[in-house]
Amino acid sequence: MLEALENCALAAWVRESPSIFSYTLILSLHAIGLAIVLGTSTLIALRLLGVAPAIPIESLRRLQAFIWFGFVVNLVSGVLLFIAEATKMGVMPAFIFKMSLVVIGMVLGQIIRKQVLENERALTTNVLPASARSLAILSLCCWALTLISGRLTGYPELVTALFGS
């Protein structure tokens, strides 16, 4: 199935078109999208850890919408990048690890929303529930690992050296 994806016309276009608007633009969008997701998630996590306490909890919900925007940009660009090299990426441990972490990161975001950002007491008094701290730290760790494993998809030999094959 990975081969079929890689051989389809869209994948071929991403891979082979000399236009700046294909592979290179898609890569740029992916970098911008990840910066939005990671950067904004970090901002929210830092607020939950007590940094910049003047940021209203209500604003964090709006900022989560910005994370979703970045996520969608990366979902679309990511699918295009994936199909171009489906047979390589589909079996690569670093890539599979990264995708798992992306799912965990976004799920954590939803848990943060339900438990903290929509918490009545937090919204009215700025007093955060006890879980806010742990969720923030988990979120930071998760996205850090996502970034690292994402980078490592470009270094398969290094991955083998570090973790064995």
């Binding site: 000399p18 290179t24 910066a35 990671l38 901002l43 910049a52 970034l147």
Partner: protein, 172 residues
Amino acid sequence: MLEHISAALTVAPIQRLVNGHAWIWPLCETIHYVGMSLLVGIIGVLDLRILGLFRSLPMGALKPLVPLAMAAFVGNLITGVIFVTGTDSGASFYIENLSFQLKLAVLLVALINLIIFRLTGLEEAVYATPAGADAPYSAKVIAVVSLVAWTFTIVFGRLLMYNDTLLLFLGM
């Protein structure tokens, strides 16, 4: 002249360090991406707020995070220097690369924009803007320049390894 600059910027001890340990380059790249993400998450969000998004945010609330954005920039400067001075083909790879030159150019625009933001007192005016209120008009111009400059810094950064595609696009 570019060859002279490239020769001056190729630093053998850093090249040896980078070549001696396979994990250094990807670590520096990771730090570079972290810095980029922090700049987007902090300065990008501030710029968008100045332009009217996230109105429930009082602009001054982001002020404590600005030193972190500065630290992120310094981290990227340091890792950037490691890339340029430590790459095994020599600094000429970057110095003679149009994408890199354009990246530095837009970065300079972003930095000059920031200096203007500070020196004109607009920064203080922005931080004083409460939730729901509008930033001064000139601050919005600064915000647009900032967003465009930083976006293109990322784009040209990504194009570094695909400089031929850029040259083809520009008909060069």
